[in-house]
């Protein structure tokens, strides 16, 4: 079956520093990859999505590139802000969209002043 692996459970860093959250996946089919962010007591919200190999996608200062050769979709930001403290989930959706999203275990990002 499909799977998504996020290797960091918790990332703590100081405001202004760069961050990279790792995401790798396994699927038999051509996937669509997503990054969702969930702030405390809020609904998960879409941050980025992509199905195009080797094309960088950006939103709200975050960016990621889908690399099908390495089955990766790492999330990056050049300079984190305090408001970036949240849970980040990588997810994939196979081309049978009825299956919905398969999520990784999530990475908690804590940004300190």
């Amino acid at each position: 079956g499909d799977s998504v692996t996020q290797t960091e459970g918790l990332v703590t860093l100081t405001k202004g520093l760069p961050v990279m959250l790792n995401c790798t996946y396994q699927t038999t089919y051509s996937p669509f990859l997503f990054w969702y962010v969930q702030h405390l007591n809020e609904a998960p919200k879409l941050l980025l999505k992509s199905s195009t190999d080797n094309k960088r996608t950006e939103h709200q200062g975050f960016y990621a590139t889908l690399h099908k050769s390495s089955s990766s979709f790492h999330l990056q930001k050049s300079s984190v802000q305090l408001s970036d403290s949240a849970l980040y989930f990588c997810a994939l959706r196979p081309n049978n969209y009825a299956q919905g999203l398969t999520f990784g275990l999530g990475t908690r990002v804590s940004v300190f002043p």
Binding site: N41, A43, K49, S51, G100, G106
Partner: protein, 114 residues
């Protein structure tokens, strides 16, 4: 702001009691999902619908969980006999059909089984 509306936000039930939660998907979205997010923040898919018809559901859902998405009424998820292990955040989500369609989530119903 989330356009998927879930009620109630918090639900406390005793073991063996029924627990029912509702969801109004975003207008125009025919695909509806229910996920369970446990205390470790792990997502577990429960069931999904397209236009009131069940597309997929896991075994757990088939036995103690029931769900429906009638037309012109909120979707619902009901646990027939709550167990302590059911304590979790239940997230409803909706989307358009299509692999790349954004899935919109509600804020969830936090169920505590005491």
């Amino acid at each position: 702001n989330s356009k998927v509306i879930q009620t109630p936000r918090y639900l406390v039930k005793g073991q063996g009691q029924k627990a029912k939660m509702r969801c109004i998907p975003e207008k125009g979205h025919p695909v509806v999902f229910w996920y369970q997010q446990n205390k470790n923040n792990e997502f577990k898919f429960l069931i999904n619908f397209q236009n009131q018809e069940v597309l997929q559901q896991i075994d757990m859902t088939e036995k103690r969980f029931s769900a429906e998405c009638p037309s012109n009424s909120p979707c619902s998820l009901e646990i027939q006999s709550s167990e302590a292990g059911d304590s979790a955040l239940y997230l409803c989500a909706s989307s358009q059909p299509g692999q790349g369609s954004e899935v919109f989530f509600g804020k969830g119903t936090r169920l505590t089984v005491v």
